[in-house]
Symmetry: C2
Subunit: 209 residues, 2 copies
DNA sequence: GCTTTATGTGACCTGGTGGTCACAATTAGA
DNA sequence: TCTAATTGTGACCACCAGGTCACATAAAGC
């Protein structure tokens, strides 16, 4: 947690520091992000920084926390009727919402992306390992439920599929920004439909609907 | 390319340095790998290192090249009858071979894994960008061919699927070593079958075979 | 044996990192 | 207004990175 000194700061200064830091962690992974650049771009002294934050990790966790909070408030209304929806329709909603968030807050998406790649670093273990496993557990529960409801075949390896769905969900953003578009538009919606359709029916030509 | 001095070295010394370097790049990404650790673990002087290699990148590329060569000689006989096989059977063969290689050469697998995550770094651009796009292009061609042959439905986004197949192919190793086993065994073969079956038919319960 | 060429070596350089600290400036309280 | 507490500051620290270089050692040619 940042020190009191930080929260006593005038709002605009606090927001400046925060946004500069977000930018830094979006451009560079945790280990490559530089406190020197952050203080430089914020126009504050190095010493001041350490009056606001305990250390680099303190700042990083603060931003992650802020990011998680904003994502939750953003996503919650977009994902409706979780229990009522068909599994594949729900999956569609989730991917749509996640992509929309990523397009609207590309810096947050970048931070998340770095974090996923930084695995096996200490930082990862102390933060996202929980969340990623959490994500996996979420899809795992979803899959098991869908199997019970007869929407998903019961002969699949739930854990493996949960892993890949989590993975792909996280990689979608990169795919879109790299190959398709960096705006949330009709094309993107169509691609999501395509993708969910693949998850549902596979690639095989033999039994297409 | 390493300097002549390196190739004039007695074989055992050359192999020692190489294996220490492979180990270092397996443990750490390119930017985090340390020349100091390499020379330390090899028992050679820093100055000697720079008589063998131009710089860090020179060593890294040398190892990548060695790795690629070994992978090719390893995989080639394992993937047979490329043009004759059914698309999904071919995919199965590829995944099987790739996994087997990764299990047999876990350090190479780790290096590759770091590299994929290091994207947008200079190193990535100058090395794997070719190979990854190459990988994508490979699957893309495979998919298009399979569509022509009527094995894969024609209403899919080839590029997107090629991207995800490449991605998943590269992530499989991590999944297995993390959640299943670090030996190539029957369980693994079964999982591969499961996975290919998913790619082929999807998750839907409605039209299972 | 002597000379020249090829190797080996580690102190040293520059430049970066995260983090500290004695001190200056400001603000708050009385 | 004088004092005490809070906040701002940048030189500085220890450490590590990749890379260099003058010099020591060894091998090769004659």
């Amino acid at each position: 947690m940042p020190k009191d000194t930080f929260f006593n700061l005038p709002l605009d200064k606090r927001e400046l520091i925060t946004s500069v830091a977000v930018d830094e962690f979006a451009r560079h992974s945790y280990s490559h992000a530089s406190i020197n650049r952050i203080v430089g771009n914020s126009g504050i002294a190095k010493g001041s920084f350490y009056q606001y934050f305990e250390d680099k990790q303190d700042l990083f966790f603060y931003i992650l926390q802020k990011m998680a909070a904003e994502k939750i408030t953003y996503l919650t209304p977009l994902i409706q009727n979780v229990s009522e929806l068909d599994f594949f329709e729900l999956l569609r909603q989730i991917h749509k919402a996640a992509l929309k968030f990523a397009m609207e807050y590309p810096q947050y998406a970048a931070i998340g992306s770095h974090l996923l790649k930084d695995r096996e670093s200490k930082i990862y273990r102390e933060t996202i390992s929980t969340n990623f496993s959490g994500g996996m557990e979420f899809y795992r529960a979803l899959l098991e439920d869908a199997i019970k409801r007869g929407q998903v075949r019961q002969d699949i390896d739930v854990q493996m599929l949960a892993y890949f769905i989590t993975l792909i969900n996280n990689s979608m953003v990169e795919y879109y920004t790299e190959y398709v578009s960096d705006q949330f538009d009709e094309t993107m919606l169509a691609s999501i439909d395509q993708f969910i359709n693949f998850i549902e029916h596979g690639l095989s030509a033999s039994k297409t609907d």
